[in-house]
Every structure is written in structure tokens, then in C-alpha cells.
């Protein structure tokens, strides 16, 4: 033991003269900028998808309805309630939040003698830290769910323009799994889908590789899953939780990957008619489009006898005669319809109601009649010379039917919707085949970003060499004798007036002449209601040119229902939803009738 060892501890005394290290006011000490303190939630951004609840390993989060937040497209109306008797401040909820609405402040003090007080809905129950800008936020690059859509193979524009082959390759199994993996299964899309398909469930089937189970799930809500997997307007993808901070899930392509992955002959084993007794009641359906055939499918599966009357050569309606083959190949549609037929649905083609058979005959021969006639008449711009213009819908039908259509070197299309793109791209293909080059001009009233057509459609049309002139109003179709020579347009300044009514204003100085050997009008369609006959037309109630129906699709006549484009506007998935609704309503009526008889 040296003297040094005895003395050296005394050196600690030098600290006597040091400044104290004590924090004078520990109560108002702020935590660091990144501190994971109490939660904040931006009510405007939150969509109530429940991913935070899903990831919370403490079961600390409940999704609860709150005042002032209503359910709507892409918003469940629920908001997270956090139980601070459970929370561990790991911030996984912040990390996983699909919109970035959930954050954490750097507040950390909450004392209370009531143990039940530690629950609150951030953003709704006012707290002192609601507006605190500091606190934990996720770094931009870090996401716990994938943000980028799996790439989709497509035929390149040069290869696809000269033919009507399908453009989109569809996901490979690996791509489909990668894409399906991004889904957070919140189910917001289900509410948006008109047919309320079980989207998260079938996506999870893709993830698990159970395509057959997925197919059965699809057919529970949609007998046109193959078609919808290709040409659906996919409203669901506009409310996908993933779209807020990345690409929406490619729901449509995933649906397609299910239907493509199951061998065609397996369909008939997987989707079988349920074992129900024949009711002996029968239903006539006018029009073999998606609405009519969905109704037929549902009713046949309930044991009713169903006959579908189709005016044209082949069933499919607008899916066959309106949608070009490169988007929905005919063999897919044929197979789809054969599945429906396997339920015992009888389809009589070339039976135009009003000509081959009358409405009255149907009324007496069947227990119920469904009107699903679609929109097969093109609207006209009624500008000078418009009598020389072609209707897009007509032209598409003729192309499908294999009729000879005139293919001039220059074509002008009026309209900015999907039909306009369809006809433009179809004509472009025909031009390429006939003349070796494309000469299509598309003009529309709207600005490009407000076109009604899907973005991909526009992009693909541009890729294929169509010229698009947005904000051009048609003024005259120039005619030289019997032949069309071009289209004269003015620049559009505004489409609607101050009250929001349709009243386009033009800049007359900005005039353009689009030379064209053919002008196609694609500005909308209407239903051909001549089949109803004067008497029935008189009896029915109407609403702005459309047959008025109730929530179940029933018209003012007790035996007549209406469904599909003719009443809901042009959209396959809407038509399917209509079909289900009408089928349930008819079935209910038929059951009541049967029970009354017994």
C-alpha cells in the first residue's frame, strides 16, 4: 500500500469548485427532434386503412368511427385510437402508415391517476402536442411496404401496331407474387368496386399461389373476371391505400393473373352449378352483355330457367363489339361466356326483340324480363357535315364483325374517352395494315389531363402514332361532294359556364383544319329503345332519357327490370354489379311468387 494510493482519492475534492451539472428546470426540458413521443394524426390525410392496427404488436390500436369523419371512397371513416396502456412507442405504426398521416411529437409527459384515461384518438381528441412540428417522422426512403408496382410486360408499339394481338403480357407468377405482396389488405378498395369483389382475399390467394381458390373467389362476385382482369376501369385502384405514397396495387392485373394461371378446362370443375332444385320459373334477358349474362349466371345458379336474347351474331355485347380485340381477345370472351353457359343459361343469338320476338310475347312467356340492351347508338356532334361522319360505336362493331370498313390515309376522331381511343387505335392498326403508316388525329374538348380515357390508353395511343389535339372544339366537317376532306376545329377556352353547365367557349382566331378522309364521332352513346314499342315506352317512368329504376334495378313495371350500361352508364364492372342486384331482386320476387302459389 503506497502513500499515493492513500492520497490520490482526495483529488476528487477538486470538483468542489466545478459548476453543478444539475438541470435547473427539468420540467420544461424538451426532448430531441426525433424523439418518439405521443402520437399525432393528420385527419385530412388519414384514410383509416388500419395498417397501423395490423402492425402493432401490442394490440394497442383500435380503429374507431369518429365524429366528422365519414366513410367514402378511399376512406373508411375509421381512425386509430391508441391505448397508452399498451403502446411501446416503437413507431412501427408511423413507419407503416400508408399516407404518412400518423406521426409522433416529441412530447412525453402524461400522468394521470385514472388508469382508463390513457386512451385517445390522435387528431380528434385535442392534446397539447397536436401541432408540435418536432418529433418522430419516418425518413423518406424507408417504407415497410413496397411502393413500386411490379413491371408489366407489353408488346412494343412497333410490334403491336400492325395487328390486333393482345398488347399486355400479363404478370408472370413471380411478378404477380411481388405485386400481391405489396397489398396491405385494408379492404378500402372493396367499397369502391361496384361489384364489391373480395379484392384483398383474392390478392392473398395470389400471394399464396392458390390460383384455383382465387378463381373460385373471383367467380363468387364476378362471372366476368377474365374480361375484368383485362379491361376493367379499375376504380378500385383509385382508392388503393398504396397509391398515397407510391403506385396503387395493380389489382386488375392480379385478377388477370389468377384467371390466366388456371387452365381453361379446370374452370368447369372449379365453378360448378350449385346443387339446387329447379324452380320451374323462367326469366328472359334481353341483351347478352355483361349485365344480362351476370343476371343470367346468378339466376341459373338459383335454379331458374334463363333465356338470353341477343340481337347480334355472338354474345358479349359491348365487350365484343365495342372493345377492340387487342385489349380483350375474343377467345377469352368466348371462354368466359362458355363458363356462364355451363350453368344452364341458354343464349339465342340473332334474336332482335321487337323484330323476331316482341316485348309482349316475352312478358307473357316468362316470369320476369330483364332489359340489358346497352348503349349501341352513337351520339352526334350535330355540327355542319356531321351527317357524313361515322359513329365510332358502329365502326367498332363492323370491325369486329369482320365487315369491310373504309380505311382512308387520314382519320380524324372527335372525342377523348375510351371509345375514342379504341376507334383511333383500331383505325391506326387498319391503316398500318393497308397503307403501311398511321394517320390518326384525335381531337377533344378537354385538356389532356382531363381526358375521360384511361391514362394508359392515351399513352398507348400516342406510342402507336396517333396525334392527339386536346382542347379543340369541332366546328365543321369539311365535305367535298360526297367525300369527307377534313375537320375544322377551334381552340376551347372553357367547357362549362359559371354555373357548371355544358357551354363551350371557343377562341375563334385559333382555327385548325385537320385533313381527313374520314371523321369519326366518339362523343358518347345512347340506348336504342325502339324495341320497347310505343305503348311500353309510354307506361314506363323515365329520368332524363334513361329508364327509371329503383335501387334493385326494377322499373316501374313489376315484371321488368333494367340493368347495365343503358341505366348505369358504360362500364363493365358496373354492369356486373347491376346484374347481381337485379338477379337477387328477381329471385326474391320469384320466391315470393312461388310461396304464394303453394
Amino acid at each position: 500500500m503506497s502513500l499515493r494510493d492513500v492520497l490520490s482519492p482526495f483529488t476528487a475534492w477538486k470538483h468542489v469548485i466545478n459548476d453543478p451539472v444539475t438541470i435547473k428546470d427539468p420540467f420544461s426540458r424538451e426532448a430531441s427532434d426525433r424523439y418518439r413521443g405521443f402520437h399525432q394524426n393528420d385527419m385530412d390525410k388519414c384514410i383509416g386503412c388500419g395498417s397501423c392496427e395490423e402492425i402493432c404488436q401490442n394490440a394497442a390500436i383500435d380503429m374507431v368511427p369518429v365524429e366528422g369523419q365519414n366513410a367514402g371512397p378511399g376512406d373508411s371513416g375509421l381512425r386509430p385510437m391508441i391505448d397508452y396502456g399498451r403502446c411501446c412507442w416503437c413507431a412501427l405504426c408511423v413507419d407503416v402508415c400508408m399516407t404518412g398521416s400518423l406521426t409522433m411529437s416529441n412530447e412525453y409527459t402524461w400522468v394521470d391517476s385514472d388508469p382508463d384515461a390513457f386512451r385517445f384518438v390522435p387528431g380528434v381528441d385535442a392534446k397539447s402536442w397536436d401541432l408540435e412540428p418536432k418529433g418522430y417522422q419516418r425518413e423518406d426512403e424507408r417504407r415497410l411496404t413496397g411502393t413500386v408496382r411490379a413491371p408489366m410486360g407489353e408488346t412494343c408499339p412497333e410490334d403491336r401496331i400492325g395487328n390486333f394481338d393482345e398488347i399486355v403480357d400479363g404478370f408472370t407468377a413471380e411478378q404477380a407474387i411481388i405485386e400481391a405482396d405489396r397489398c396491405v389488405e385494408c379492404g378500402l378498395c372493396v367499397a369502391t368496386c361496384p361489384a364489391h369483389m373480395d379484392i384483398p382475399d383474392y390478392i392473398s390467394k395470389v400471394r399464396d399461389g392458390d390460383y384455383e381458390g382465387g378463381l373460385q373467389l373471383l367467380y363468387e362476385t364476378n362471372p366476368f373476371s377474365q374480361a375484368c382482369g383485362r379491361i376493367c376501369t379499375h376504380k378500385c385502384e383509385t382508392t388503393c391505400a398504396a397509391m398515397h405514397e407510391g403506385d396503387a396495387i395493380a389489382i386488375r392485373w392480379l385478377k388477370r393473373s389468377i384467371t390466366d394461371s388456371v387452365p381453361r378446362e379446370r374452370y368447369f370443375d372449379l365453378i360448378q352449378k350449385p346443387d339446387v332444385p329447379e324452380t320451374g320459373q323462367s326469366v328472359a334477358i334481353i341483351g347478352a352483355g355483361p349485365a344480362g349474362l351476370t343476371t343470367a349466371y346468378d339466376l341459373a345458379r338459383k335454379g331458374h330457367q334463363v333465356v338470353v336474347f341477343e340481337a347480334l351474331d355472338k354474345p358479349g355485347g359491348m365487350m365484343r363489339y365495342g372493345i377492340p380485340e387487342y385489349r380483350l381477345p375474343y377467345h377469352v370472351l368466348d371462354h368466359e361466356i362458355s363458363v356462364i353457359e355451363s350453368m344452364g343459361v341458354e343464349i339465342r343469338c340473332n334474336m332482335r326483340v321487337g323484330q323476331e320476338i316482341s316485348m309482349d310475347q316475352l312478358k307473357t312467356a316468362y316470369d320476369a324480363v330483364v332489359l340489358s340492351i346497352g348503349l349501341h347508338q352513337g351520339r352526334s356532334t350535330r355540327v355542319p357535315g356531321s351527317e357524313k361522319a361515322e359513329a365510332a360505336i358502329d365502326l367498332l362493331r363492323r370491325i369486329t364483325a369482320g365487315e369491310e370498313v373504309p380505311v382512308p390515309e387520314q382519320v380524324a376522331v372527335i372525342g377523348g374517352g375510351n371509345v375514342a381511343m379504341d376507334i383511333a387505335r383500331s383505325m391506326a392498326r387498319l391503316q398500318k395494315i393497308k397503307h403501311g403508316k398511321v394517320g390518326v388525329t384525335v381531337t377533344a374538348l378537354e385538356e389532356l389531363d382531363r381526358f375521360l380515357a384511361d391514362k394508359e390508353e392515351i399513352e398507348e395511343a400516342l406510342e402507336e402514332g396517333c396525334d392527339i389535339f386536346p382542347a379543340r372544339g369541332p366546328q365543321e366537317i369539311l365535305v367535298d361532294g360526297d367525300t369527307v376532306t377534313g375537320l375544322r376545329t377551334w381552340k376551347v377556352d372553357a367547357i362549362f359556364d359559371a354555373e357548371g353547365r355544358f357551354a363551350p367557349k371557343y377562341d375563334e382566331d385559333d382555327e385548325m383544319v385537320h385533313p381527313a378522309g374520314m371523321v369519326v364521332e366518339a362523343i358518347g352513346q345512347m340506348a336504342d329503345i325502339s324495341l320497347l314499342g310505343a305503348e311500353l315506352t309510354e307506361q314506363l317512368e323515365w329520368n332524363r332519357g334513361r329508364i327509371m329504376i329503383d335501387a334493385d334495378g326494377q322499373t316501374s313495371e313489376p315484371w321488368l327490370w333494367a340493368a347495365g350500361d343503358a341505366v348505369s352508364g358504360p362500364d363493365v364492372i358496373h354492369a356486373v354489379a347491376d346484374g347481381h342486384r337485379v338477379a337477387v331482386s328477381i329471385s326474391r320476387m320469384l320466391t315470393a311468387k312461388r310461396e304464394a302459389l303453394q
Binding site: G48, C49, G50, E53, I61, D62, M63, V64, P65, N70, A71, G72, S76, G77, L78, D83, G85, P115, D116, R119, C186, G187, L188, V190, A191, H196, P200, E220, T221, P223, P274, T294, Y297, D298, R301, A551, A577, H580, R581, A583, V584
Partner: protein
């Protein structure tokens, strides 16, 4: 590592080894040979350090996997020997005389998995739990959530809603779901 297993494989029965990394290998051995292998590895091959001893419950196969992880600190090699035991009446062989610290592991396994190690010191004494009356908790068939909810009480008053069903209730309750 490969060379070591190659050297030993004539005398002992090994399953197919998994070379997880260059310095980490898993291999299944027979229970009857475990002690001899461990002794040889420890005394001859330099695997002197028992890193851990634990069990995995493969309830689907009705087996417990005992993992003896031993480490050669000079060569920095880790070898994990798996021994499969029947889940019914599981009994392992004590190695506390090779490594005294194994007694602790064996006590834990006895308590948490119900695997007995006859002869291991204090193996039947309570280790971590006190007054435990249920199944050994680390067994897969013991449901901790159910036990917890029945033994302790959650604070009442919580209720959650699934966004999908909630939206159905609020937005489209009258839509007929499917064709079924």
C-alpha cells in the same frame, strides 16, 4: 468444418449437415452417440466452449429438437448438434459433467419445455417460474394469450372495427354480396 465432419463420419452417424456460414454448421446426430461426439469434440477437436443448449418444439412432427451449440474458440468454428427427442415423455441426457454450466440450461429446459434430464443437479427445482401449474410454457401447445386472458384481466372498454366490414355496413349494406 467439412473436413472435420468427414473425419468423424466413419465413427458416428450424422444427418445431412447444413453449412449456414463458413463458420457455422448444423448437423443432426443420434442421441446415443451425442455424449461420445461431444466429448471427442471437446477434448480432441478443441470445441471447448458450450455456447448454448436449447430446444425447438416441432409439434407437428411430435419431436423436440435439442440444439447443442459448441464453439472452437481457436479456429472460430461453431458446430450445432441437433438431437431429436420424442415429444411424449421427453428425456435428454445430462452433460453437466462435461460443462457444469449445462446444468442451468437443463434446468431451464426442464421447466420451460418439460424435457427431463435425470441426474442433472437441481433439475427439478423451480428456476424462473414460481408456482407454475400449467403446461410448460415454451411448448407450442401452450397458448400464452389464452392463458393470459383467463388469468389476468384486460382493461375493458376497447372495441375495434375492420375497415372493410365497417365500410360495408355504412356504405353498401343493401348490396347483395355475390351470387351465392
Amino acid at each position: 468444418m467439412r473436413e472435420l465432419l468427414y473425419r468423424l463420419k466413419d465413427r458416428y452417424h450424422f444427418g445431412t449437415p447444413t453449412f449456414q456460414r463458413d463458420d457455422l454448421c448444423f448437423v443432426t446426430v443420434k442421441r446415443s452417440e451425442l455424449r461420445a461426439i461431444l466429448t471427442e469434440l471437446r477434448d480432441v477437436e478443441g470445441f471447448t466452449h458450450l455456447t448454448l443448449l436449447t430446444a425447438v418444439d416441432w409439434i407437428e412432427e411430435q419431436q423436440f429438437q435439442l440444439t447443442y451449440m459448441i464453439n472452437n474458440r481457436e479456429a472460430n468454428l461453431t458446430l450445432a448438434l441437433r438431437v431429436m427427442l420424442d415429444r411424449e415423455d421427453a428425456t435428454g441426457d445430462t452433460i453437466h459433467d462435461l460443462w457444469p454450466t449445462a446444468a442451468t440450461y437443463q434446468r431451464e429446459l426442464r421447466e420451460m419445455f418439460g424435457i427431463n434430464f435425470p441426474g442433472s443437479p437441481r433439475v427439478d427445482e423451480e428456476f424462473i417460474l414460481e408456482g407454475w401449474t400449467d403446461l410448460p410454457p415454451y411448448r407450442r401447445d401452450f397458448d400464452t394469450l389464452a392463458y393470459s386472458q383467463q388469468t389476468y384481466h384486460d382493461r375493458p372498454g376497447r372495441e375495434t372495427h375492420d375497415p372493410k366490414t365497417h365500410m360495408q355496413k355504412v356504405l353498401y349494406a343493401d348490396y347483395p354480396k355475390g351470387a351465392k
